[in-house]
């Protein structure tokens, strides 16, 4: 865990930036409330588990907010988000990588697993500053081929088909090697 990031301090601002510490409690709290709302009219057997977990969870979140409020009022901490929200080159790369793999999920239905994996891997290598042409071609091609052989040809897993899979389909007798 990057402990230094959650309790970061800089010479100019000695207070701990605690704003980011509220992100998970916020998500967890909203999810618990959604759970209660969604199960409100159900029989007790369907609701009880959510209540027995959700209520202590909300209690813990209140406890966390209270301890943060004390730290802020005592001047030991601030509500800044810290480096998690900083717009750095690494942050940009991180977001683009996530976008690439979200794109992979969107395109896999049309392109098939082999081609979309090739493109996603190629793009992510490029994003991380790999510029060697050999590596840029061979690694995605080799990985996509390995995935095709292992998951489709050998194990006959239910994977989305695209141009590559359709082209190679006649080679597979009975759905798998």
């Amino acid at each position: 865990m990057d402990d230094h990031l959650s309790r970061e301090t800089s010479p100019g601002a000695p207070k701990r930036a605690l704003g980011a510490d509220l992100l998970i409690p916020a998500v967890a709290g909203l999810f618990a409330l959604y759970f209660f709302w969604d199960t409100w009219n159900l029989k007790w057997e369907a609701r009880i588990n959510g209540i027995l977990i959700g209520v202590p969870l909300l209690g813990l979140i209140v406890l966390k907010i209270a301890s943060m409020a004390i730290a802020i009022t005592e001047g030991r901490a601030s509500m800044r988000l810290g480096s998690i929200a900083a717009w750095t080159p690494d942050q940009r790369r991180r977001l683009v990588l996530l976008a690439v793999f979200a794109g992979f999920a969107m395109l896999i239905g049309w392109l098939g697993v082999t081609l979309s994996l090739f493109l996603a891997l190629l793009a992510s290598l490029w994003i991380l500053d790999v510029r060697s042409p050999a590596l840029l071609v061979l690694l995605p091609a080799g990985t996509a081929a390995l995935v095709y052989v292992l998951f489709i040809a050998v194990l006959d897993k239910r994977m989305p088909y695209g141009p590559v899979e359709n082209l190679l389909a006649p080679l597979l007798v009975g759905g798998g090697i």
Binding site: D3, V27, I48, I84, L97
Partner: protein, 513 residues
């Protein structure tokens, strides 16, 4: 019943006649264990037609070898890239990956292999010796006790893995609540599915595991040049056999941790449904409790890694005990084995030991043989597998992301699962950056469905009265221990924070995970 050393000796020799099937099964098991989403039970299900045509002793030798080897294999990616092959290896990440970051991957892999094999061998021998007695243990635990065990296990994880108790508990309960998503067990009504039909069966575990551990780690990893903090130092450490010998030496030196924690694994494995996820954390907590240097846990402590790995493999023997003795499979892999045994006309339960002792005990002797094979197959590989940490992260991260998103898709074949993996990846990333323990979230998600089953069973017995949760003496003892542990942890945390405020040197005492 089987009695006499001659009979045990005959069965041991007979198990070695199955080496022709045990060796490929061990290789296969290590491979499938190392790939997330390729659990032993899925592999055994795929190969079911093959096992059904074999004779019963050969098929059981094959299945237990795949099962035991997959338990060991799942530790390899946990150590090298912080991506456990199964939820049961989440505890391995705590110290295993920390060792890798210090350039000690070869040593960590050797510890994992040696502790797994010795832990597995030790518990298999114990299981053979005390099989009829151990088999009764699961009968003493009721659903109420199981609820407390799970809450206890989850709180234990929250306490171990973070320096802020409240943050650890929030992470654990958040995971547990996500684990409850999906249709309820009695009426089949969907709950908190956001309208997605793909979530009716609950949060898919493999994408959740991949997202929380592998994707979130990859999103942090590329900020460094290599996995190890100093690639030059790491290069020196993986270039010889020193790390392997050091790993073995550490295991021998800390033999009592190995023996004790593998025994914990055996006992927890016997309880149906408990499994490696709980066992490894309980064992880890025990090792930390009795350690003379508890602060080193989570920062690359060999003792922590030994505890996690030996208990994991202790579970393998334990899981088979209730299956053979009372006919209740201790886990999903054991359930697949039950199908094969019943297909071959083997009657599971107490009569198995009188009617077919050679089959009952033969399974454990095959396990013994598989573990012996693993020593010679896996230990020499530690040096070469450990070199993965030398691959630059700008190459490793895209590979991890690509292979893991495909693994998340492979399990159920739903494209939706890729999105689940990415969402959990973002949650895991935020957790890592803000000090909420991802492993606590993961264990919560894993335990969620099981927790609900036992809780509902208890509450229906008590006709909806919550007091049923405090009606068992074993459960009440555990509740008491839980409150005591939480209070102790809170007090320790308070003392630590006070020390932190008083001097920067005290900052060293914080668990970095």
């Amino acid at each position: 019943m089987l009695s006499g050393w001659e009979n045990y000796g005959t069965l041991l020799i007979a198990s070695f006649t199955h080496l022709w099937i045990i060796i490929p099964a061990v290789v296969l098991g290590i491979l499938v264990g190392a790939i997330p989403g390729f659990s032993a039970q899925n592999t055994l299900l795929i190969l079911l037609p093959l096992t059904l045509v074999m004779d019963i002793d050969t098929s059981m030798a094959f299945m237990v070898s795949v099962y035991c080897a997959s338990h060991m294999g799942a530790g390899i990616p946990a150590i090298l890239i912080n991506m456990p092959g199964t939820g049961g290896h989440a505890a391995t990440c705590l110290d295993g990956f920390a060792m890798t970051k210090q350039g000690r991957s070869q040593e960590a892999l050797a510890i994992s292999a040696f502790a797994s094999v010795v832990g597995g061998l030790f518990t298999t021998i114990l299981a053979i010796a005390f099989l009829p007695f151990l088999s009764r243990m699961g009968l003493y635990l009721h659903s109420v006790d199981m609820v407390v065990i799970m809450v206890f296990g989850l709180c234990l994880i929250a306490m171990i893995a973070t320096d802020d108790l409240v943050k650890g508990l929030i992470a654990g309960f958040f995971g547990l609540l996500m684990g409850v998503v999906g249709t309820d067990f009695i009426y089949g009504t969907p709950r908190a599915t956001f309208g997605f039909i793909e979530l009716y069966e609950g949060v898919p575990l493999v994408p959740a595991l991949i997202g929380l551990l592998a994707i979130s780690e990859a999103l942090v990893m590329f900020e460094r040049e290599s996995v190890a903090l100093s690639s030059e130092e790491a290069r020196q450490k993986v270039s010889g056999w020193t790390g392997t010998f050091e790993g073995i030496h550490q295991c021998i030196r800390q033999w009592w941790i190995l023996a004790w924690t593998s025994f914990i694994g055996l006992l927890i494995g016997i309880v149906p449904g408990a499994g490696a996820s709980i066992a490894s954390f309980v064992a880890y907590a025990q090792a930390r409790l009795f350690s003379s240097d508890p602060q080193s846990f989570g920062r690359g402590s060999p003792a922590g890694l030994i505890a996690a790995e030996s208990s994991n493999n202790g579970v393998t023997s334990g899981t088979l005990v209730p299956l053979l003795a009372i006919g209740v499979p201790g886990g999903t892999t054991a359930a697949v084995m039950a199908v094969v045994l019943q297909y071959n006309g083997v009657l599971l339960g107490p009569r198995l030991f009188t009617d077919r002792p050679e089959t009952a005990y033969g399974i454990f002797f095959s396990m013994l043989a598989a573990y012996i094979v693993m020593v010679f197959l896996v230990l020499p590989l530690a040096r070469y597998v450990g070199t993965i940490v030398l691959v630059p992260t700008r190459v490793l991260v895209p590979l991890i992301l690509s292979l893991t998103v495909v693994a998340s898709l492979a399990n159920r074949g739903y494209v939706f699962d890729i999105y689940v993996a990415l969402v959990f990846g973002v949650i895991g990333y935020i957790c890592r950056r803000t000090g909420y323990n991802v492993i606590a979230v993961l264990i919560g998600v894993l335990l969620g469905p099981l927790f609900e089953q036992y809780l509902l069973r208890s509450l229906r017995l008590g006709q909806g009265d919550l007091q049923i949760l405090f009606s068992s003496s074993i459960g009440n003892t555990l509740w008491g221990l839980l409150v005591l542990s939480l209070a102790l942890q809170w007090w320790k945390g308070r003392r630590m924070r006070r020390a932190l405020r008083n001097g920067p040197a005290a900052k060293e005492t914080i668990n970095p995970y």
